[in-house]
C-alpha cells in the first residue's frame, strides 16, 4: 500500500517499456472494447434515465418532483440518511481506530462481522428486522403493547438503512488508517497529548479525506437503498415511502416520466458521489506528487504520505 506514490496515480507517469508493449492495433482494440463495454453497460442506461425524465419537458419533470408524495419521499430519504450516516461515521472511525491501532484476540472475526452486511442480501437485511420488531416478531407483542411502531414505519426504515450501509465508512477509514500508520499519534503521546487531543489534532486531520469519501459513499447508499427498505417499509404513500420506493410505485403505475424524474434525482446523487470521489483521488495524488518532488529537491528521503487508496469494494 505504501510507496510508489508518484507512479501509482498516473498511468502516464509509469515507465513504459518499448520492448514489452502491444502492437498499436491491439492497444486500439482493447481501448475500443473498454469504451464499448462501459458505454453499453453503464452510459446507455444512465442516459436513458435522464432522457426519460425530461422526455415531456422540464415542467413534467418538475411536476413529478414537487408533487406531495414525491416531496414526502424526498424528505423521508433525507431524514433516513441524516440519522444513518452520522451513526455509521462515528462507528466507522471508532472501529477503524480499534482495528488499525491494536492487536487483540478475535480481531479478524470482528473485521469479518463488520463486513458482513455487504455479503447479506438486502432482502434478508430487511427480513431480520421484521423478525425482531414485526407484529409476529420476538418483541412484536411488547412493542404493540407499548404502542411503538417500528416495522412499516419510519424507525424500521432507519434501522434497516443503518444496517445495510454500516461497513462503508469503517472500510474506507480503516484502509486509510492502516496505510498511514500511527507514528504521529505515538509521537504526540510521548509529548504528553491525551487520547482526545490525539484524535482531534492528529488523527482526524490525517484521515479526513478517507472519512469524507466514506461518508459520501455511505450517504449515496443510504439514500438509494431499496431491497431492505422495501421489506420493512410497508409502502405507505406519503408516509413510509423513500425515494427508491417511490420510483418503484410510479413505475408500476406506468407513470414513467414520474418514475424517471425521481430516478434522475437519485442518479444525479450517484454522479455527484463519483465526482467527489474522483476529485479526492486527484487531490491526494497531486499532493503526494508535490511532496515527493519537494523532498527530491531538498535532497532528502521522500516524506510523502502513503497513498490514500480509494477502495470502494474489496
Amino acid at each position: 500500500m505504501s510507496g510508489g506514490v508518484a507512479t501509482r496515480w498516473n498511468g502516464s507517469g509509469k515507465r513504459q517499456s518499448r520492448v514489452a508493449a502491444e502492437a498499436d492495433w491491439v492497444r486500439a482494440s482493447l481501448i475500443g472494447i473498454t469504451v464499448l463495454f462501459l458505454g453499453v453497460a453503464v452510459v446507455l442506461p444512465l442516459s436513458v434515465v435522464f432522457s426519460s425524465a425530461f422526455s415531456k419537458g422540464f415542467e413534467a419533470f418538475w411536476a413529478a418532483l414537487s408533487e406531495p408524495d414525491a416531496v414526502s419521499a424526498i424528505g423521508l430519504t433525507l431524514l433516513t440518511a441524516a440519522i444513518a450516516v452520522p451513526l455509521n461515521a462515528v462507528f466507522g472511525i471508532a472501529a477503524a481506530w480499534l482495528v488499525s491501532r491494536y492487536d487483540f484476540w478475535g480481531k479478524s472475526a470482528l473485521v469479518t462481522l463488520i463486513d458482513l452486511p455487504f455479503s447479506v442480501s438486502p432482502v434478508i437485511s430487511g427480513l431480520v428486522f421484521v423478525l425482531l420488531f414485526g407484529a409476529q416478531g420476538f418483541w412484536g407483542r411488547w412493542l404493540s403493547a407499548h404502542d411503538i411502531k417500528i416495522i412499516f414505519a419510519v424507525p424500521g426504515i432507519v434501522i434497516a438503512t443503518t444496517f445495510v450501509t454500516f461497513p462503508l465508512v469503517a472500510r474506507e477509514v480503516l484502509a486509510v488508517m492502516q496505510a498511514q500508520g500511527n507514528d504521529e499519534e505515538e509521537a504526540a503521546l510521548t509529548l504528553g497529548a491525551g487520547g482526545f487531543r490525539i484524535l482531534t489534532r492528529i488523527t482526524l486531520p490525517k484521515i479526513r479525506w478517507g472519512v469524507i469519501y466514506g461518508v459520501i459513499l455511505c450517504n449515496a447508499r443510504a439514500m438509494g437503498e431499496f431491497g431492505a427498505v422495501s421489506v420493512v417499509s410497508g409502502h405507505i404513500r406519503g408516509q413510509t415511502n423513500t425515494m427508491p420506493l417511490h420510483v418503484e410505485i410510479l413505475y408500476n403505475e406506468y407513470n414513467f416520466v414520474g418514475a424517471f424524474s425521481v430516478a434522475a434525482l437519485l442518479a444525479s446523487l450517484a454522479l455527484v458521489t463519483l465526482v467527489v470521489k474522483k476529485s479526492i483521488e486527484l487531490g491526494v495524488a497531486l499532493r503526494a506528487r508535490r511532496l515527493s518532488r519537494k523532498a527530491e529537491r531538498d535532497g532528502r528521503a521522500s516524506l510523502a504520505p502513503p497513498s490514500l487508496k480509494m477502495r470502494s469494494l474489496a
Binding site: A20, G137, E186, G224, S230, P244, E248, K277, S312
Partner: protein
C-alpha cells in the same frame, strides 16, 4: 506439587497485545456493542426463528420445487454475470492501468457508477433500455433476442451491478506489476500474447478470482435491479431474494426465514472462500 515448574514466558492477561495509544477500551466496547446490536442480534433472530419451526417443515420449505428453481436461477445467472465481468473486467482494468487516451479518467470514474447508483434506478433504466418497445430492445428482438422479462435480462442486470468488482481488484495488481519481468520475457523471445498468458496472467489470477467471487456474491443477493427486468414468473424468472419477498408478502414468515437461512449459509461459505482467496492473493503479491 513439589517441583517448581520452569518459568514460562509471561503472557499478558488482557485481551490487548500491542498498541500503546489510548482508547482501546472505549473503541472496543463501542465497536462490539454496535456490531452486536446491529449485526449479531438480528442474525441470531433469524437463526432462532428458523430453528423453532421444526426440522421437517424447514426441509420441506427449502426443498420445494419453486425454491429449487429459484436457487438454480440465482446461481446460474449470478455465475453468468460474474463470468462476463471477469472477462471484460480484466480488459477494462488493463486499459485503465496501462494506456493513456483522452477521456480515460471519465471511464475510470464510470466504473464505480454501478456501486453508487441506487439499484432501483438501475433496474428501471435497464428495463427501459431492453424492453420490447425501446430502441435497443426492439432491435435485439428483431434479431430474435428477447432480453427484458427473461433470464437474459437478469444476467444483464447482474452484469451491471458486478462491473466494479473485478476491475477494482485487478487494477491495483496490474499497476504494481514490475515491468522488468515483462521485459525479461520479451527479451527471452516471448511474444506479447505469450508474455500475457505465461507471465502476467498467473500473477493476476488470484485478483481475478477474488473479483469474480465478490461479483458473484453480490449478484446472488441482488434484488432491486433484477425485479424490474426479470418479469418475476415463478419457476422461470423468480430469483431467490424475490421468493423471500413473495413469502413475506403472504405473511409466511417461517417460509421466508427458511429460504433466507439457505441464502445466508451460501453467503457465509462464499465469504469464507473470499477470505481464503484474499489471503492467497496477498501471498502471491508478496
Amino acid at each position: 506439587m513439589s517441583t517448581i515448574p520452569p518459568p514460562k514466558r509471561r503472557r499478558p492477561l488482557t485481551l490487548r497485545r500491542r498498541g500503546v495509544l489510548p482508547g482501546f477500551g472505549l473503541t472496543l466496547g463501542y465497536t462490539v456493542f454496535y456490531v452486536g446490536l446491529l449485526v449479531l442480534l438480528p442474525l441470531f433472530a433469524l437463526v432462532l426463528k428458523a430453528s423453532t419451526q421444526g426440522f421437517g417443515a424447514f426441509i420441506h420449505t427449502i426443498s420445494d420445487q419453486r425454491a429449487l428453481a429459484a436457487y438454480w436461477l440465482s446461481f446460474t445467472t449470478a455465475l453468468a454475470g460474474a463470468s462476463i465481468n471477469a472477462v471484460f473486467g480484466v480488459v477494462v482494468a488493463w486499459v485503465l492501468s496501462r494506456y493513456t487516451f483522452p477521456g480515460k479518467s471519465l471511464l475510470d470514474a464510470l466504473v464505480d457508477l454501478p456501486f453508487a447508483l441506487p439499484t432501483a434506478v438501475a433496474g428501471i433504466a435497464l428495463t427501459a433500455v431492453y424492453s420490447e418497445n425501446a430502441w435497443v430492445g426492439s432491435k435485439l428482438l428483431s434479431l430474435g433476442v428477447k432480453v427484458a422479462f427473461t433470464q437474459l435480462g437478469i444476467i444483464v442486470a447482474l452484469t451491471f451491478i458486478g462491473i466494479p468488482f473485478v476491475v477494482r481488484t485487478v487494477q491495483p495488481v496490474l499497476e504494481e506489476l514490475d515491468p522488468d519481468v515483462e521485459e525479461a520475457a520479451a527479451l527471452l523471445g516471448a511474444g506479447r500474447l505469450a508474455t500475457f498468458r505465461r507471465v502476467i496472467l498467473p500473477s493476476l489470477f488470484p485478483a481475478i478470482l477474488t473479483g469474480f467471487a465478490l461479483a458473484f456474491a453480490r449478484a446472488l443477493g441482488e434484488y432491486g435491479s433484477v425485479v424490474f427486468i426479470s418479469g418475476n414468473m415463478p419457476m422461470k424468472t423468480e430469483i431467490t431474494p424475490l421468493l423471500i419477498v413473495t413469502k413475506l408478502e403472504q405473511y409466511d414468515y417461517a417460509g421466508a426465514t427458511a429460504i433466507a437461512t439457505v441464502m445466508l449459509g451460501a453467503s457465509f461459505l462464499l465469504l469464507f472462500g473470499i477470505n481464503l482467496l484474499q489471503r492467497w492473493a496477498r501471498r502471491a503479491e508478496a
